[in-house]
Subunit: 396 residues, 2 copies
């Protein structure tokens, strides 16, 4: 692939509606996307190629990490992002190769040191922040540590040390009645890392002793960020990312995109930022979170409304005159399931050089008739590049 | 696959319209194939399975080499044919394993030995031929050399020597102002080969010194032919090839097909040869070049006319009563793009044992509705064999 990359001044926009794919509310009914009144998307569909994308193979439900890696053209299985790293990205940690991340919880231990509440009575975010400040003063030679509160008892934890290991067991026993566990190394390289983590956890326990119910912390999902060839190196693209949530900014950063500033933290703010930065980049990733949020909450009508709001921004996008536009999603989040799902995700590929399917509707069943077929999400990037005139011919 | 091959007397015809796939001339319009009046193809489509083939994956535009290898069922990425080998096949070099091929140019050097014209003023083909005759007299121990003029300053070059290397740098700097480069070997096996090539190039420079503007040659795209298991070995097929252009005869030969003689160098001549050889082979590859030529020239109407001419030969083919017929292409060449493109290529598979889709039209959008779906071109050969009763059951 990399050998086929050709220089071009064309511009590509990838508009990702998180959890876009859905299911009918009742048997025989319409999905969220089919229900939404989307005149602009429908007329764009008429000039586009349609299909359904699968992030990681039939039947596989993905999280946002692999869902996005696949959309960005990386193998989502080879390049898995661990839970810890994803949580850390979500609170805007600027993770480097020496940073080991984990998901953390404040918890309550009884006098014998056994976990009696894994969530420390869901203490307030403000109280959690005070305790984090306390723990962030811990100094241990050979490493730096930082907790950032996500919400209530939940935090992201990062330890920076040279060449950390990554095969490390969770300290969270995931049930009450037992003690928090010590970190166990899974290989030689992780031994020193485990020692440093356990030193930190001992100090934390001493510092927190008088702060019941939050008198201890537990860590799980230790992970390092995978290193990926950047969009610049892999595709020759100067890519900018527009996302309101840290995790998506983090995944975009991982792919070497520049995270662009958004003045107003709304969908309007994102699209305003697109116009403002339009001249300076040739690839834009725009992330819309609310479709997924509604899907996960089971809010069918809310998801419909978000899709309709996105639809009203389509003329704003098209007025910029991009060469290629993808409208798609990282996975499905049907409101009726209140969760992510494995169902293929509608994808619309508009391009000046495309072969339009002539289907004037953007919805799950309309996309099924499209020329992209049911395709691996990882195949979308090569298609976007080809349509943008950014791929040379293979072979003579 | 090879273990499943079953003997049969059935006959398969693969009719390849080079660069068949197209794009609408204007937004919302019809492609070349959709525009063409093709009553015979349409009525064949009604009894056939339709689909769209992709030579080397979504978004990848291929040259004729990989495009044909995929149609013939070989992996087009693993078995790449280099530029030099393809050019040599095009002028009917009968390349063997000891033949290293390259694409060559006559060029003009100034007094300091710097390239001032990479095309030697596009000297006439006749003058180029005289100079080639001169160079073809060069004798160097350990190798034989031959230039064959393609047209004007362009020629194919072959060096025959035992076990040649293939990692060899181009001598063409691809720009003016610098000297032609010496061939650099990229591995140990290529060292001797590079030495022989550089000896030849020194002699050539001496011989051409007084023949300005064509006072030097430059070589690029050094390549050996890949070796492929033949149609006989791989599929149990006695295959014959009908093609007017050397390159396609060459690729067919590479697949172990017998290149059949064509009396009149026209489409009619090709179909006459099909009838004449019909009894003696059980697989026929028929190559129609003009669809691609028109596509690359941007001649929409010309491409339509070629397709209509092919259509008139369909009854001639069907009257031979073949068991299986594929009508397809090696890649798309939309006239509006004046080049090869990545768009999937219409494919029609007629078979007595087929499950007809009942779609009475052969065109890009009609094929989209067909049961073959959008499939890798490499999957077509197994389908042809199955339909021809040439594949046994796998497993008990």
């Amino acid at each position: 692939m990399r050998e086929l990359i050709a220089p071009s001044s064309s511009k590509i926009i990838m508009l990702v509606l998180d959890g876009l794919g859905g299911l009918p509310r009742e048997p025989g009914g319409k999905t969220e996307l089919e229900t939404a009144r989307t005149p602009h998307l429908d007329s764009l569909a008429l000039k586009s190629a349609l299909g359904l994308s699968q992030p990681a193979g039939p039947g596989i439900t993905v999280g946002s990490g692999p869902g996005h890696l696949a959309l960005f053209g990386y193998d989502p299985v080879v390049n898995n992002i661990g839970r810890g790293a994803l949580e850390a990205l979500g609170v805007d940690f600027d993770l480097g190769p020496d940073d080991l991340a984990a998901r953390g919880n404040f918890c309550t231990l009884d006098k014998r040191g056994l976990v009696v509440d894994r969530r420390a009575g869901r203490l307030s975010t403000a109280s959690a922040q005070e305790l984090a400040d306390l723990l962030n003063n811990i100094k241990i030679e050979g490493a730096e540590f930082e907790l950032r509160i996500i919400k209530e008892h939940r935090f992201a934890f990062v330890m920076r040390s040279p060449r950390p290991g990554r095969l490390l067991s969770d300290t969270d026993p995931l049930k009450t009645g037992g003690p928090p566990l010590a970190v166990q190394p899974g290989d030689e390289r992780s031994e020193k890392t485990a020692r440093l983590l356990n030193l930190f956890l001992n100090r934390a326990q001493i510092l927190l002793a008088d702060h019941s119910p939050a008198n201890m912390i537990m860590l799980r999902g230790f992970s390092l960020l995978p290193t990926l060839p950047s969009f610049k190196v892999r595709y020759g693209l100067k890519a900018g990312a527009l996302a309101l949530n840290g995790m998506y900014r983090g995944v975009a950063k991982l792919a070497g995109m520049k995270v662009l500033d958004i003045k107003e933290r709304t969908m309007a703010g994102e699209f305003e930022a697109l116009s403002r930065h339009y001249e300076n980049y040739n690839f834009f990733y725009i992330h819309i979170k609310e479709t997924d949020t509604c899907g996960e909450k089971g809010d069918f009508d809310g998801k419909v409304a978000v899709i309709e709001e996105v639809d009203r921004w389509i003329p704003h996008i098209m007025q910029l005159n991009p060469d290629v536009v993808l409208v798609g999603g990282d996975h499905s989040s049907p409101a009726v399931m209140q969760s992510h799902s494995w169902h293929p995700v509608p994808a619309l590929l508009y391009s000046r050089l495309g072969r339009p399917d002539g289907i004037g509707e953007f919805g799950e069943r309309a996309c099924l008739k499209g020329s992209l077929g049911v395709l691996p999400a990882q195949n979308l990037m090569p298609l976007l590049l080809a349509n943008a005139g950014r791929l040379k011919k293979y072979g003579a």
